[in-house]
Symmetry: none
Subunit: 538 residues, 2 copies
């Protein structure tokens, strides 16, 4: 049986950016676009060129993707031709093969928000789509408020999408813009659209999660006949978010009747990167990943109930609807019971530390981990720091060097030209092989820009570690994350540092303190120690 | 037309407690039970008496509720009578009028997890329910894994629930224990159960959110005929959580066809307490409330897109599926680089800055906002910094004082007892009314603990601002958030500071720099300036 093709249209970079508090940089947009492309979506909506500078910059240096990069905009305004509308021109100037424009399908909005006649609106839609097609672009039409519009005035709602269809739009996307339509009604209206003559393989669905039904509505629309789903990674988006592609993709690939009926651009191999992709996005947003997220959440395969945990030990399918490995996620059995200890042993052996079953060190490590996690440490992320902690508890942590003291000075003052400038200076004193070494560095980079006190401190620390210095030549700090784990005036800071070396290794370390420099220093020290222990062991 | 009664069964205190990281105290259970009762649910499942001490203690001093307090347990074990099963006896001893027991409906689990024959399992169900009924209790039967069981062996799954039904169970609850069943299939199986002779008004539904379909599945089951919904507040629960009653309740009360067809125990008046109840639960759990939660999330009625915001100003129904006040929530028009001018004018007038439509200052402010947001500033959150920026652009920012320079020193060294300790010292030089003032502070709090360089800097800054100092006496920093807006070694830091004063005002300010101390200092300065301008204006 041949499976029908479903098209996946991602709008993380456009509607996803409507999430309160979310503002991607151009560089972050590039990163996300590459991740989406690796996943295998069909369309990547990159933003609204002309409407905001990062969107324009993104299209100016658009990444090369398999997926169709799509610019978003709106139908031409009344009283001017499509050719003369500068807003529409800016969208076309982005030069994408596909262009998606939004227009009104609800008579109430045409009158209230636009203040034009229903005929003018229909004409704007038809002319805009026709203009895109004349320019050789693939045109998509987002029919805004389609479902509310259909409920209020079915004839007019159908007229608007028929105008887009007749003008040559490849996809007519039915949008539940306000997120208030429930699955059964949404399916009924979608069927009515198909009966009215717009074929399902020309229809898309765009839903919002205001009633927690965005995923269900998308599936209901597919059941009714649409063949494109619009959504976002991690369900980002205006208000409660858009339909969550991170959930829809594994449903379509793994669950029936979808897996047998439809084909999507995401492979089973790419699906194994899903959890990583979801976490990467949270990383970019500096959000704590949602533990209870379907498929990719860290609790999605956590079995807390005692009866569940013991059944899982016999057969995981007893309490798991899919194998977590299929989406790159992992099972969690709380540390408190027997199964938890075998998990810990697995982590230790991953780090090259073989520990026998029942070794009392396991209990001691668990205790230290719990204690430190209560202080704000996060060993899920910082595997390298976890390894050092375990070595320490087991008496296997070599004392390579010792930090005697450090001092950092940050000054901000007016320079000779009267501009306020900042400069940090760090002095670090270490003892290596009984010999004291003093190093000093400042915070200016090669271009003379101030990179702040953590930068000065990190440079001074690695500057002279005696016989170890040469081993650190190929190491570099690639990421630095700060989170306040306890709010208010007693704020505790957690710093996570990602490091990389010339052998392509990448490792994460953690530091926690009320003092952000101390927290950073602790994470830096762990990063260096881990690298030195690994290299010496070779 | 008379509306049919739907029963709401809350299991926050039992299945909700299976959430990773959640462990209620007895007192917290009482608080939550009272809140649920005030909301108007029909059943409150309080826990499993005998299985864990807080659950037993909760039933020992059970709160007096309108809702039926229900004890949870499992069917009697094979090889003993219901009367002699001590686990079941402990459940009955809680003395609740209603008792819910879980039993297996999936042949695979009977064999794998229980290791008994299918007949023994059916007999355990029948005898257990009969025992509850004989004791004068209202009996509920949770048919565990019912949907997976039906798919594997429909006859046996039906046999188990018929056994419970024939033995006198008031409610037979069909459980999608692993959360893997999608709405359409769940509805189909539910209809088959009703056709097989178990009436819909004796059936309940219990779903999990592993595919983000728990709410949709509950609605699909009601559509198919069931008349009880089991769920939890805020969708707490094992793995990805249970069906979210905080979402289902407003759907059932406000959305069609449910509002016309069914009656529930929750009144419209109680519904206005929904957001408060949801936040209270997060407060108890010490969780940050989920912004994007449907109905009750702080972003649920936040309108970030400029086009949306301007339409909302004309008529809120343009982009809201319900009036937020109905669930005790509120509308938010955030300031952001997506914001249109109408959004901006509303923000300015909230800040007491009246600007006429079409004033060229609006365009200039938007430009500065866009420019600074591209650098990493976030004016969505930092309304006070936004106000200062707008005042500056409009030439309405009084120059209260000027910072000439500052210097912060952070030292870490071994103290007299050989322990590593840190100490920061800050010097700030300001000019007020042409007079230079030098202040110095260190980072130790009243208990002698180091609070870090930001603390020292903030103390030195407010220490002596001349005539303004007395105005700052009642101001305090209540929250401090840091995020890296650009990763890697070129990290840019954004600091958001929340401040409060004696008049109960709370305001947020932002600072951005590669240097975390500079970023903090900038946010601090804004916090002080905003407070001084407000107080002088009075």
């Amino acid at each position: 049986m041949t499976r029908e093709r479903l098209s996946l249209y991602d709008t993380t970079l456009r509607d996803g950016q409507q999430t309160q508090g979310v503002q991607f940089s151009t560089d972050e947009k590039r990163q996300i676009a590459s991740a989406l492309d690796a996943l295998g979506v069909d369309y990547i909506e990159g933003g609204w060129p002309g409407a905001n500078p990062t969107d324009s910059a993104f299209f100016d240096a658009a990444p090369d993707t398999q997926a169709r990069l799509t610019a978003f905009g709106m139908t031409k305004r009344a009283g001017m031709s499509a050719e003369n509308d500068d807003v529409l021109a800016a969208v076309l100037n982005a030069g994408t093969k596909s262009v998606c424009i939004v227009g009104k399908a609800h008579d109430f909005h045409v009158k209230t928000a636009l203040g034009i006649t229903l005929e003018e609106n229909t004409d704007n839609i038809a002319k805009s789509i026709a203009h895109l097609v004349a320019q050789g672009r693939e045109a998509l039409f987002d029919a805004e408020h389609f479902f509310d519009g259909y409920k209020a005035n079915p004839d007019y709602a159908l007229t608007t999408i028929r105008a887009a269809f007749d003008a040559g739009a490849r996809w007519i996307v039915l949008c539940d813009t306000n997120g208030g339509t429930l699955p059964a009604e949404l399916a009924e209206i979608t069927r009515a659209v198909i009966e009215a003559g717009i074929p399902g393989d020309r229809l898309g669905i765009h839903t919002h999660d205001d009633t927690e039904n965005a995923v269900a509505c998308s599936l209901a629309a597919v059941d009714a006949g649409v063949r494109q789903i619009q959504g976002t990674l991690n369900g980002l988006g205006e208000r409660c978010g858009n339909a969550n592609l991170t959930t829809l993709i594994p449903i379509l690939l793994l669950k029936e009747p979808y897996a047998s009926r439809y084909e999507i651009g995401v492979t089973h191999d790419a699906l194994r990167g899903l959890t990583r992709t979801s976490r990467m996005l949270d990383e970019i947003l500096n959000r704590v990943p949602m533990k209870q997220a379907g498929f990719v959440g860290s609790s999605a395969f956590a079995h807390k109930a005692g009866l569940h945990a013991s059944a899982i030990a016999k057969d995981p399918s007893t309490y798991e609807h899919i194998d977590p490995a299929l989406v790159g996620n992992a099972r969690i059995i709380p540390m408190s019971n027997q199964a938890g200890q075998s998990n810990l042993r697995k982590r230790l052996s991953d780090a090259g530390l073989a520990v026998e079953k029942g070794d009392p060190a396991l209990g001691r490590i668990l205790e230290v981990v719990k204690d430190r996690e209560a202080q704000g440490y996060a060993y899920d992320t910082a595997q390298a720091s976890f390894e050092l902690l375990a070595r320490d508890v087991m008496g296997q942590l070599p004392q390579l060097f010792e930090v005697e003291r450090y001092r950092v000075t940050v000054e901000r003052r007016r320079n000779a030209e009267g501009r306020m400038v900042s400069l940090s200076e760090a002095v670090v004193v270490v003892e290596v092989d009984g010999e004291k070494r003093l190093s000093v560095s400042e915070s200016l980079d090669e271009d003379g820009a101030d990179r702040g006190p953590v930068n000065a401190l990190s440079k001074a620390l690695v500057k002279d570690l005696g016989k170890y210095s040469s081993l650190l030549d190929d190491m570099r700090l690639v990421d630095f994350k700060v989170r306040i784990t306890q709010g208010g005036t007693e704020a505790t800071t957690r710093v996570i540092i990602d490091s990389e070396d010339g052998q392509g290794r990448r490792w994460s370390t953690v530091g926690v303190s009320a003092n952000i420099l101390d927290a950073s220093f602790e994470a830096l020290l762990d990063a260096i120690r881990w690298k030195l222990i690994r290299d010496r062991a070779q």
